[in-house]
Symmetry: C2
Subunit: 216 residues, 2 copies
């Protein structure tokens, strides 16, 4: 037995997540959260240890209920990073016949982006728009993906079930999120600069675990 | 052409990252950074939009130089999540004959963890210790992985080239990082609760881009 120079809290593997959520709930205290969104907010804090998500997450009316209905009806998830795809609980989604798509590494997407002088994220949203399925978009990286989604929605080429708009960064990130909030599309947005692939995946998982808390 | 209700900054795809780093540098202002670590700190901020990383990142002496030497000598990277594995630029690492391993979804790891009543992260560190290669550990999720690395180092069963210790969370996260800082192993640690798979991957990529700034 190796002696530890630091005292560790004795928590069993299966209890770590529960204990973490207890601490988060305790530290949130009286922070007002929108009823029905608490599990999503807390999971974002769990993923980032950043309590800003208690303030920056914005939900369109009934976004959570509508997202859950869409998942139950077999909606697929389109992401803008392989990281988010890796993070989403694909077995949990498959229970409702959903799949996760990420077209960012596709050769045709790279070619079209190069030809059009756009980001690959833009081109991959165009590719997603050709899918004939109910779709949830989970955008954790590229504001250009949100901008293209906005255009596709305005042009009536796409009608997403939900947009999880949580790209992170410094160039057009804030603006791209405001754009989505101007549409009639249900959304979950982390207003401001923060977000990320981890946050995009964690919001998808929070929705899945709200339907069925079984882990794989 | 769809009319935008929000004004977007006109930045070409290839210039977005550069412009982001300019903004980060500007906003960091006089914040003191350890010479030679700036690109790592800025990339963590770029990945999270969280300026706390300017203060919480700790580097053992010459950690960056030693890590770069290790990569050039073919070190492999072991992560504790599929998300971090997805995020690491594997083509850039392959230029130096390195590979990325994540054993978290391996059946033998799941079985051993169950048998021993540990986390899968613990069991996956034991599996990594059997690799006969120079290793960099990039831990973005599980404090139990860092605790097990500490034990393996103390037991002289493992001698990592570098530990990137950036698990995120609320249970034993702070302590597990302090433990690693007690060892003689070179480290890059995000002190406190913050971190994540995205941060683990981004530190690996920052090191790779310090050697060769070519993207794939």
């Amino acid at each position: 037995m190796v002696k530890m120079k630091v005292e560790l809290e004795n928590v069993k593997p299966m209890e770590i997540e529960g204990r973490s959520f207890e601490i988060i709930t305790e530290e949130l205290g009286d922070t007002p959260l929108i009823p029905g969104t608490e599990l999503i907010v807390k999971r974002c804090i769990h993923t980032s240890a950043d309590f800003d998500y208690a303030k920056n997450l914005c939900f369109s009316e009934n976004a959570v209920q509508r997202a859950i209905e869409a998942i139950k009806n077999g909606a697929c998830i389109v992401t803008d990073t392989q990281m988010a795809k890796a993070g989403i609980n694909k077995k949990a989604l498959a229970r409702y016949n959903g799949e996760v798509y990420c077209f960012m590494s596709d050769e045709d997407v790279a070619e079209i982006a190069k030809k059009n002088g756009t980001t690959r994220a833009t081109a991959s949203m165009d590719k997603a728009a050709t899918l004939e399925k109910p779709l949830i978009f989970a955008i954790g990286n590229a504001p250009t993906a949100l901008v293209r989604l906005y255009e596709l929605i305005q042009e009536q080429k796409l009608k997403p079930e939900l947009i999880i708009g949580v790209p992170v960064g410094f160039v057009n990130v804030v603006q791209s999120k405001e754009l989505i909030m101007e549409t009639d599309t249900p959304y979950i947005i982390a207003r401001g600069r923060k977000g990320g692939s981890n946050i995009a995946a964690c919001i998808c998982n929070a929705l899945l675990y709200m339907i069925n808390n079984k882990r794989d």
